[in-house]
């Protein structure tokens, strides 16, 4: 009965707005953060940090960015990767061309550039809706990729168009080892997740959901549609931009424009579909799923005697599994893994009773 709620009433509205209303949830979160910040870097192997945790965190963040726009504000986008690219290339160029710019500021400014790009391509949303908006986001996707490939200034005229990470250094501390890159990523992810969580619980978040659920009614009760939509694009773009910079510099170390192609946008979209549209925790569940499923499948096939299933077929199988899962989730649980997780928690709250 660790989920005892007895006696936990919110005495003030302020208490009701807290991150988690229940003490147990709050303590679990603190424990998780402590574990993530203090224990993981100490015990995580290179492989875990480099190949699983960092991409998981970055993809969660990208999912969060898109979820604000699509899950909360209801604006469908297939251009997430474009804004990630803007974030990455802006951060790279800022680090290169502004001497002495602190790394954290560089990444944050990269996010600001991405936000600006996102608002620009979000402008048509003031006039067009639904699928038609896909055109604008796809235009962003293809145009940005073209721009960074075409104009070699963006990659400092490197012959290959590949950009490499600026020195990962904060106040004299070198963060280029796996644990350092992990902590840097984690820091951004935690900060932005808290920010996003506050935003969706605030007036702006409610306005987004109002626009999503019924925009005519939203307009009638005085919600400024244009401002609300564009703020969604801006915040989403900012977070995606930071995610792009982290993807390029704390995860891969190098990146070329092609690394942010349409399939990356799809990947981010799948994270939020599987994780749960309009849910903050869902991004993490969805990203974990997307990162771990392929690895799990390939390890599983490694257990089979060789020759039973070849690597190629496995990849096809994985594609099919992904597709089926997406369809399955949409049919059975449109709110994704986040909803399943919530149900599990509800169970725990009333345990050992059944209801």
């Amino acid at each position: 009965m660790f989920y005892t709620e007895a006696g936990q009433f919110s005495g003030h509205y302020r208490a009701d707005r807290r991150l988690f209303r229940l003490r147990q949830d709050r303590y679990a979160l603190y424990a998780l953060l402590l574990f993530a910040f203090a224990v993981v870097p100490a015990i995580g192997s290179d492989y875990w940090l480099n190949a699983i945790l960092i991409p998981f965190l970055v993809l969660s963040l990208a999912g969060l960015g898109l979820n604000l726009l699509t899950g909360y504000a209801g604006q469908l986008s297939l251009g997430s990767a474009a804004f990630m690219a803007v974030g990455a290339f802006a951060t790279y160029n800022l680090a290169l061309r502004v001497p002495g710019l602190p790394l954290l500021v560089g990444i944050a400014l990269g996010g600001v550039f991405a936000a600006a790009a996102s608002v620009l391509f979000g402008l048509p949303s003031l006039r067009i809706k639904g699928f038609y908006l896909l055109v604008s986001t796809l235009a962003a996707q293809f145009f940005v990729q073209w721009l960074f490939t075409k104009v070699s200034w963006f990659s400092n005229d490197s012959a290959s168009g590949v950009i490499t990470a600026p020195p990962l250094r904060i106040a004299g501390h070198d963060l280029s080892n796996p644990a350092g890159r992990y902590l840097l990523t984690l820091g951004f992810v935690v900060a932005l997740t808290l920010l996003a969580r506050n935003v969706v619980k605030s007036e702006l978040g409610r306005n987004w959901m109002a626009v999503r659920d019924m925009d005519t009614a939203a307009a009638v009760i005085g919600i400024p549609l244009a401002r609300t939509k564009l703020l969604a694009f801006a915040l989403s773009g900012f977070i995606l931009g930071v995610a792009g910079a982290l993807w390029a510099f704390t995860y891969l170390g190098t990146v070329e424009p092609h690394g942010f192609d349409l399939s990356r946008s799809f990947q981010v979209l799948f994270i939020i579909i599987i994780g749960g549209l309009g849910s903050i925790a869902g991004n993490f569940l969805g990203a974990a799923f997307i990162v771990l499923l392929p690895i799990g499948l390939s390890l599983l096939s490694g257990l089979l005697p060789p020759g039973v299933i070849d690597a190629g077929q496995l990849e096809n199988l994985q594609k099919i599994v992904f597709g089926l899962l997406i369809i399955g989730f949409l049919i059975k649980e449109p709110e994704g893994l986040a909803r399943l997780w919530q149900q599990l928690r509800e169970r725990a709250r009333v345990w050992p009773l059944r209801y």
Binding site: T149, Y251, L252, H258, I295, L303
Partner: protein
Amino acid sequence: MKHATFRRVAALLVAGLLAGGAHAANEQYFPLQSYRVGPYAAGGTGFFGGFIDYLQYVNAKGGVNGVKLTWSECETEYVVEKGVECYERLKKGLNGAPAAATNPLSVGIAYATLDRSTADKLPLITINHGRTDSTDGSVFPYVFPLQLNPYSEVSAIVNYIGQKSGGLDKLKGKKIVTLYHGSPYGKETNPILELLAKKYGFELTLIEVPHPGNEQQSQWLNIRRIKPDWVILRGWGVMNPVALKTAKKTGFPVDHIIGNIWSNSEDDAAPAGDAAKGYISITTHPSGTQFPVLQDIKKTVIDAGKGNLADPKRFGNVYYNLGVVNGILNVEAVRLAQAKYGKKPLTGEQVRWGFEHLNLDDKRLKELGAYGLVQPLKLSCADHEGGGAVRFQQWDGSKWNVISDWVQADRKLLRPIIEESSKKYAKEKGITPRDCSKES
């Protein structure tokens, strides 16, 4: 019962994720970041098929001085982050067998694992592709763009055009169009082409085809208007057959199109059908099965039913043979390193020494049964490329026929450009280059 099975699988998964495991015997391990699905699967299945078959063949002959070769595959789908995940997963070796070198056959993955390879002291082999300035081994000790880097490639093509026109001086006033894939890979050689155009006085037009390249009408109409003497095709995947088809459609003679190293396989020409007849491309190695080493592979591996190719008809094609060539170079490096460090499984650092001292002359190539398949190759601390020569082949509608002898790139001309770039990289990254005069 169900739960027990589930738990066992889960336990195995966790064990797998945490890697490690039992200590293994006398084995040398090759981590294979292969790709067998996705848009570039045709190249991956051929290359890794040839590579694996060669390793099997070496094992059938008793391994390298008794050290058995072992490998495992990790599918990358040519996607960079999957390649990185595979790298991180496999770099530690398998069951105690240490990794010798990684061979991703992907520019993107090579770039993303470049720093990691150096940090982990594991050679990164980018045969026929990769980062041009990694030719300079003093800055990139662990990276080997074996045989041919992108700059050498265009230089050799221009030299060939010169030969065809009756001397490099005859290039003056000729019109050459380069049709390139709209990606960093496609653009990489443009500055060199411009340099060569200035040097030899030919008129160069660079035309971009946006990825993936399945529509090229406007580009070829432009080419028709320019009426060039030659078209250099720097294509990739579907762009190649479409280029050939569109060339035919717009009436450009296909036998004046020269494909580069990623436009030179059966899979690039065959889908274009008749339109590809007469198409010329470069190759670092001929296709075909007549070489003794391939005959041996056929006997010991393929005929024993252990061949890696799903489609046996692809035995001896361009990608397959590239895999075999790559296998030969990797195994030779291990063999060489064993001569120095002892006949046992070696670390990546030791294998690196072997690569850096590769010296395949005609005699050794004949012993290997690979004379004519692999070009003579001599590497050093300063030169991680080695060869820099290509042959030209022509498509006859069903197979490639070699139509030239080895044509050498003008490596002297390229060297200063490469060094300038590697110096810049060293400065950006804070690397102190090795002094090659002191390396043994």
